[in-house]
Amino acid sequence: MKESAIAVDGLRRRYGPSGSRGYDAVRGISFSVARGELFALLGTNGAGKTSTVELLEGLAAPTGGAVRVLGHDPYKERGKVRPRIGMMLQEGGLPPELTVAETARMWAGCTSGAMPVRESLGLVGLAGRADVRVKMLSGGERRRLDLALALLGRPEVLFLDEPTTGLDAEGRRDTWELVRTLRDQGTTVLLTTHYLEEAEALADRLAIMHAGRIATSGRVADIVAARPSNLSFTLPDGVSADDLPPPAALGALERDSLGQSVRLRTRDLQLTATEVLLWARERRIGLGGLDARSASLEEAFLHIASTVDTAQGETP
């Protein structure tokens, strides 16, 4: 087994005093990221993603549990860990009156084994903006400068906290391509995002956080495979959902209907779709709004967001 780049065990983070006035942002999570792997932490706003990443980066000490990054405690042994990691924070923190090149030069001087400033700006497509003051940059350009700074030290582990927020579609694609290249070259990447397609496009594995816990984790295909597919359609007037054969006969798990609209949940979309279409042809029924949809990460995500909500607020 490969040595893990990041190992998290029973991690907890609490803000404020004990009792009801405090708040548990991270409530005991465990996962590990192998070297060279691209791992995504997904979650709704307030799920605890950034609180978790700050602990992994060693910016704060955990309330409980343990973190290892490259075999060291990132908070207590920051001197051993920091030179080998790169991080892109969610919020700016760049002096507005410095130019892009001056900012990168300053950061390079504080970074072990920094690559040339020009090279890092070139990676994110900012070479042409080197002499522009940071305050004149667009939000997307600032995010790209953030990324350039995170890459300066050719980090072994790269933390990206919502790296494409504020980027346009093209900027997002470019960033994805760059992140893939880094991964291909052996960089371990931990990415947080609330864009599902971003996690789907980039992540080898992901964890979906909800209310401070990991609701599910694994490869995208496995998470999706665990969720049923959907077949939905509208029956014509005069035909009710009860006229349909029972779900089991259609190879479906369950049937929801609202008026003339029907939704079947199934593990075998092809079988269920075939059975429904044959039934409709025999009876010469026209199905409106026919929609056959394989399970998606989005569906899995929304399912988690809706079902685990009841657990929010409790402290085990």
Binding site: P83, R84, G109, E119, L178
Partner: protein, 270 residues
């Protein structure tokens, strides 16, 4: 974007790590650029001490210096140096620390390899250089204008300025620790400035004050610094007195350092 450039991670543990000095200098260089672009702060710090010294000249002329062992030059020069330290280093730095915190710059720097004390030092270096440049200008300018004789014990003046600079930096960080916003940073350094101007012998020698007042004023942060610088010119300070004076200055520095460790906020309170 280019994807041809290699960004492969550097091999573990063999890559050279940055040294503290290099990091502090990189940060200081950025800060120096920012200071050069902040014309208001620059003018404030550069022009004001000279201007104040000039305007205080007339006032000091009215003070009866008989029996204090001082003349106009040895009175005014240490005072103007003290003023330069307060304005160029202390006042200037309170603003720098608070504004960098508000802009989340301190938070970001802490995410890198810099330690906390490296961040505070790097951000302070331009103000320190500015303060030292001021001291040189004042020594030459006031020295020539008032025909001040050569210092009797220059090492005391050098020690005084060095200790004073360190103390001003720590007091600025401590003041910034108790300052929430850049607006309040216009006010929070004022008490220290006023107390120093009135009570630390910048323009009114402690020797002409009533004894009780003078003994309290001796304990103020900047008083030992001004005393040491003045003694540099008059040569009028025993080794025991010098150590005692030094101890007072260092006590303030340590107290400020402790306050910074205890409660300096590295990001804005929301």
């Amino acid at each position: 974007m280019s994807t041809t450039t290699t960004t492969a991670p550097a091999p573990a543990d063999t890559a050279p790590t940055t040294a503290a000095r290099g990091r502090v200098w990189a940060l200081a260089r950025g800060e120096l650029t920012l200071l050069a672009r902040n014309k208001a702060a620059l003018a404030y710090a550069l022009v004001l001490p000279g201007l104040l010294t000039y305007s205080m000249k007339t006032a000091v002329k009215g003070v009866d210096l008989k029996g204090t062992g001082l003349d106009l030059g040895t009175m005014l020069l240490p005072g103007s140096i003290g003023m330069a330290l307060v304005l160029a280093v202390y006042m200037n730095l309170v603003g720098v620390y608070v504004i960098r915190r508000e802009d989340l710059v301190l938070k970001r720097l802490r995410a890198g390899e810099l330690t906390d004390s490296e961040i505070l030092s790097g951000a302070a270096l331009p103000a320190v250089l500015l303060g030292l440049a001021q001291c040189v200008l004042l020594v030459v300018g006031v020295g020539l204008a008032l025909d001040v004789s050569a210092p009797e014990a220059p090492y005391l003046a050098v020690v005084g300025i060095a200790v004073g600079v360190g103390q001003m930096v720590m007091l600025a960080a401590a003041t910034a620790a108790f300052t929430r916003t850049s607006e309040s940073a216009q006010l929070t350094p004022v008490p220290m400035m006023m107390i120093s101007m009135v009570g630390s012998g910048l323009f009114v020698p402690l020797e002409v004050m009533p004894d009780q007042v003078a003994s309290v004023c001796e304990l103020l942060p900047l008083t030992p610094v001004v005393d040491l610088v003045r003694a540099g010119w008059t040569g009028d300070m025993s080794a025991v007195d010098a150590l005692g004076t030094l101890a007072t200055a260092l006590a303030w520095t340590v107290l400020a350092w402790w306050a910074v460790r205890k409660r300096f906020p590295w990001e804005p309170r929301r």
